[in-house]
């Protein structure tokens, strides 16, 4: 009797868990967040999720076929990437965004670098940042029930109160996967199943909280820290993005270092940076550090650690705190020094920048109201301005803000006019801020820009007298923009090719005039 027996080198036994199974569990753990996201954001969010996932899988499938690679699309990692990408997008992005993003994530970031296990940054995050940079405008529109609004983090950074409960539940707007409750549920299950490493997710959170607490300016105020934790993708980043196997270190010590790095960078960007999506960048930067961490932070086998060596020689081992690896101290030190240095530089420059801005503002006030010798504020005016601070002014002026207003007086203390500084957030390239000089009859004396970064050759023409002098001495309280052939006093000729800029400037001027009408003139009578 002859037999054909299979031969193999031991072990001859395998665990049941496979790569697709792990991917399946991760995808499943994202389901609660997806469901909440779809309920809050509507059917369009569901379409985004579907587009992203299907495109991701399809891209990998086509890549496998075209490049004659083994069928790696079956391993389920593309599904996870697609899902993560979709959850990190706003619920109102056009559908080309998830499709382009998924193609970028799978084709460029993953497949081109060798596929599963070879990419050097998180594909979903890379795609998200790619979309943010390439389609900035449409990516940052956040709508809830059709009303566009600022994200809670933007509010938080502007110093406004935020509703932590709605952030926690995910009804506050932001990205599709913004329900902290649902994300935490999925993330903690993954942690309990040992699929993601606690060393990463918890050190991210600890690093973030400690840094915010030390340098956030409000100490360890639980509500403030909770608001920071609940916004801007910190939880999604900590549990689902930072823990991506391929782009995070394998050793526990390395994972801790990596996690703290993300937490600290994320908090640093949050406090001192301007982008609300800074957490993505923190993770990507830490991803880039992973090979370095892997190269140098390699734990010794148990038998070679200090405690074991002491025991082998029959000595009493050192107490635990003396056995903490040096890199931990070094890194903690670096983080602390960087934090102190940054906050110091920020504090110093903040002052200088403020002074500079003040000086510019004062100069512009003088420019738009040459008659005045001195600019003053009454207490009432101060209170009115305080109340306006940070809020969109009125309903007819787009995203306009009133920054400041002063009363111009001549040498004898007689009021000769007013200056209002207004900002429109609807410029082509961001904010447009201008000072408007208004005489006692309500005529515009002159306007001057203190912040104008429009398209050179088009929007920048707003600076030219041909445009900005149109507002002067018209005796109207509301201007409107027409395209060529302005005939009436209230009509402004748009800059050709820069209607958006013209509208924004006009909105700011109108807001300033309205503020004059309702507050300044009324308050002085």
């Amino acid at each position: 009797m002859s037999m054909n027996l299979n031969l193999s080198s031991g072990p001859h036994y395998r665990d049941r868990w496979t790569t697709p199974f792990i991917m399946f569990v991760v995808a499943l753990s994202l389901l609660p967040a997806t469901i909440v996201g779809v309920i809050v954001n509507g059917v369009h969010a569901l379409l985004i999720v579907l587009c992203s996932v299907v495109t991701a899988v399809l891209t990998e499938f086509l890549f496998d076929k075209l490049c004659r690679k083994p069928d790696t699309w079956k391993d389920g990692s593309a599904v996870v990437t697609g899902l993560l990408l979709a959850l990190s997008l706003s619920g109102s992005v056009p559908l080309y965004a998830p499709i382009l993003g998924a193609i970028f994530a799978i084709l460029v970031v993953k497949c081109c670098f060798g596929g599963l296990g070879k990419n050097f940054i998180n594909p979903a995050l890379a795609a998200r940042c790619f979309l943010l940079i390439s389609f900035g405008h449409s990516m940052t529109i956040f709508e809830v029930d059709g009303v566009s609004m600022a994200t809670p983090v933007a509010d938080l950074m502007a110093g406004k109160a935020v509703d932590i409960t709605s952030m926690f539940l995910g009804t506050a707007g932001g990205v599709i996967g913004s329900s902290i409750l649902a994300l935490l549920a999925g993330g903690l299950v993954l942690w309990a199943l040992d699929i993601i490493h606690g060393q990463i997710c918890f050190s991210v959170i600890i690093g973030f909280v400690v840094f915010i607490g030390l340098f956030g300016g409000q100490g360890f105020d639980p509500a403030y820290i909770a608001a920071h934790l609940c916004g801007g993708g910190v939880i999604m980043g900590a549990f689902f993005m930072a823990t991506d196997y391929t782009t995070s270190p394998v050793s526990r010590l390395g994972q801790t270092v990596y996690g703290v790095l993300i937490g600290v960078l994320g908090a640093m960007f949050r406090i001192y940076g301007t982008a609300a999506d800074s957490f993505s960048y923190a993770i990507i930067i830490a991803n880039l550090f992973t090979p370095l961490i892997e190269k140098y932070i390699v734990p010794k086998p148990f038998a070679y650690r200090k405690r074991a060596i002491a025991l082998q020689n029959g000595e009493t081992p050192l107490p635990f705190y003396k056995r903490i690896p040096k890199p931990v101290f070094v890194l903690a030190g670096i983080a602390l020094i960087a934090g102190v240095a940054l906050s110091g530089v920020f504090a110093m420059t903040e002052n200088t920048i403020e002074l500079q801005k003040e000086a510019e503002k004062a100069a512009s006030y003088q420019e738009v109201l040459p008659e005045a010798q001195e600019f003053v504020k009454t207490d009432d005016l101060r209170a009115m301005l305080e109340a306006q601070n940070g809020y969109v002014y009125g309903e007819d002026f787009g995203k306009a803000y009133i920054n400041d207003a002063v009363i111009g007086q001549d040498a004898s203390g007689q009021t000769v006019g007013y200056v209002v500084s207004a900002t429109s957030g609807d410029g082509m390239e961001g904010n447009i801020t201008l000072s408007v000089g208004i005489d006692l009859e309500g005529n515009v004396v002159k306007i001057a820009f203190t912040e104008l970064n429009e398209t050179p050759g088009l929007g920048m023409k707003a600076e030219e007298p041909a445009f900005k002098d149109q507002y002067v001495g018209r005796g109207v309280s509301r201007f409107k923009v027409v395209k060529g052939g302005a005939a009436n006093p209230d009509e402004i000729d748009a800059i050709s090719g820069a209607t958006i800029t013209s509208d924004a400037v006009t909105n700011a001027v109108n807001a300033a005039l309205d503020f004059y009408e309702t507050v300044l003139r009324g308050g002085n009578e």
């Binding site: 037999m3 031969l7 031991g10 001859h12 395998r14 790569t19 040992d194 394998v250 038998a303």
Partner: protein, 453 residues
């Protein structure tokens, strides 16, 4: 109290297939084949010639040097041949083939109870050496060498290994249930060699009957205690046990005795008791026959030199309509695959597994690229970084493999390969890389001495 080591895996136990099967003696009928190299160290030298008559318990080959072991005949009959035969590892090695007459005539004086009250250390060691006892846990290190460390007074623990952490294997469980007193006596005899030592019998929690039996047998012995350990592979590894009992990790360059420990399998202790008290050398041992392809699983007392085929047939052969796909000597984690069943067992063979399905074949189809999930590093009982080691080995970066990653510290327990969701052949890579590095070192050494000479 600490009851386990760091890392480890929980493979499906499959012990229920055979755990209640009581030990029975298998008297083989065909020819018996005794391999000269079935222990660690130099192969034994035959002291019989073709045609010589032999009896049960008769020495047929002698230890060649210090680290080597005697080989004892397990049957009576005539020496048929001394020739090279296929062995478990697949290699053709020198064997003594005995034509078994089936009478099992005992050699003189074997099995007679001795009075051991006044026995000296030297007498114990001599008896253990004469009996050809080797470590029955699997490695087959000559026990007489292990029991004679440089500093016997420095030994603090003699650990009786009854963990039996390999899936499927239940023979030591049955042995502990059937012969607890004998094992305790074997441990007591061993403790006579080390006056400062305490005897610790370690058993995994999944063997409550064995724990109870051993506890009963050990009660009244001041220097012996039983420890119930967490069921986890490789709990029965020598290093895992020392980590639990003595709390020490030590590198592979050191021996257990260097950290004050001696680890002996319960089967070895039983053999010591038989040798010292009953003057019976080692020619039989316990073994489990299990797997989904065999008709009747069993725990057997088998005679050395029996062929795997005979053992399988003694268990009713294969189930009807089942094709045997894989045959394993030992457990599924550290055992060896057999290319044929017409191969003789060794003293250390503690299992024959017959499978109609091959998990490795299935796993090879599920293989993906490494995910860097880090599962292998969590389970490594040595605290190594298998993922990094595999990466370094694939790149051929032997420097990093050896010095930064301590790759030679791998004890090839197989936990990393077992747990890997990507089904990477990690342990297999480490076995190969270790062999390559050691070969390169030997070659360098040889070149150096040649240059000198």
């Amino acid at each position: 109290m600490k009851i386990t080591f760091r890392g480890g895996v929980h493979p499906k136990e499959q012990k229920e297939l055979s755990r209640e099967k009581e030990l029975r003696i298998l008297n083989a009928t065909g020819e018996m084949v005794f391999v000269m190299a079935q222990h660690i160290g130099r192969p034994a030298k035959p002291i019989v010639k073709r045609g010589d008559p032999v009896l049960v318990g008769q020495r047929i080959a002698e230890a060649d040097g210090f680290v080597s072991a005697n080989i004892i005949s397990s049957c009576s009959g005539k020496v048929k041949a001394i020739e090279k035969r296929r062995t478990i590892s697949g290699a053709m090695l020198e064997c003594i083939v005995i034509d078994n007459d089936g009478q099992y005539t005992m050699a003189e004086g074997i099995g007679e109870k001795q009075d051991i009250s006044g026995i000296t250390k030297e007498e114990i060691l001599a008896k253990v050496k004469d009996a050809g006892i080797v470590g029955l846990g699997g490695a087959g290190f000559p026990t007489s060498v292990k029991l004679a460390p440089k500093n016997p007074a420095g030994i603090k623990y003699v650990i009786a290994n009854g963990a039996d952490c390999e899936p499927y294997l239940t023979c030591n469980d049955q042995l502990m249930r059937k012969e607890p007193e004998a094992i305790v006596e074997g441990l007591e005899i061993t403790l006579k060699l080390f006056e400062n030592a305490e005897g610790v019998i370690c058993i995994e929690e999944n063997k409550p009957e064995a724990i109870a039996a051993m506890q009963k047998a050990a009660s009244g012995h001041a220097k012996i205690r039983v420890m119930a350990l967490k069921t986890k592979y490789p709990q029965g590894g020598e290093r895992s046990l020392i980590q639990v009992v003595a709390g020490v990790d030590f590198p592979t360059s050191k021996l257990p005795a260097d950290v004050g420990c001696i680890v002996d399998n319960v089967g070895t202790l039983y053999a010591i008791q038989r040798a010292v008290v009953y003057n019976e050398p080692l020619f039989s041992h316990v073994m489990t026959v299990s797997g989904d392809a065999v008709k009747e699983t069993a725990n057997l007392i088998v005679r050395d030199g029996t062929s795997f085929r005979e053992i399988m047939e003694a268990c009713g052969g294969l189930k009807e309509g089942v094709t045997l796909k894989k045959a394993l000597c030992g457990g599924p984690m550290m055992g060896l695959t057999l290319s044929s069943l017409d191969i003789p067992i060794h003293k250390t063979t503690n299992g024959l597994l017959l499978w109609s399905e091959d998990p490795v074949e299935k796993a090879e189809l599920q293989m993906t690229a490494c995910l860097h999930c880090g599962r292998c590093t969590t389970v490594c009982p040595q605290g190594l970084m298998p993922q990094m080691m595999a990466e370094a080995a694939e790149k051929g970066d032997m420097e990093r493999y050896e010095t930064k990653l301590y790759g030679l510290e791998c004890i090839v327990c197989g936990s990393c390969t077992y747990i890997c969701p990507a089904k990477r052949p990690l342990t297999q890579t480490f076995k190969r890389t270790k062999a390559e590095i050691l070969a390169a070192k030997r070659a360098a050494q040889a070149a150096k001495s040649a240059a000198k000479g």
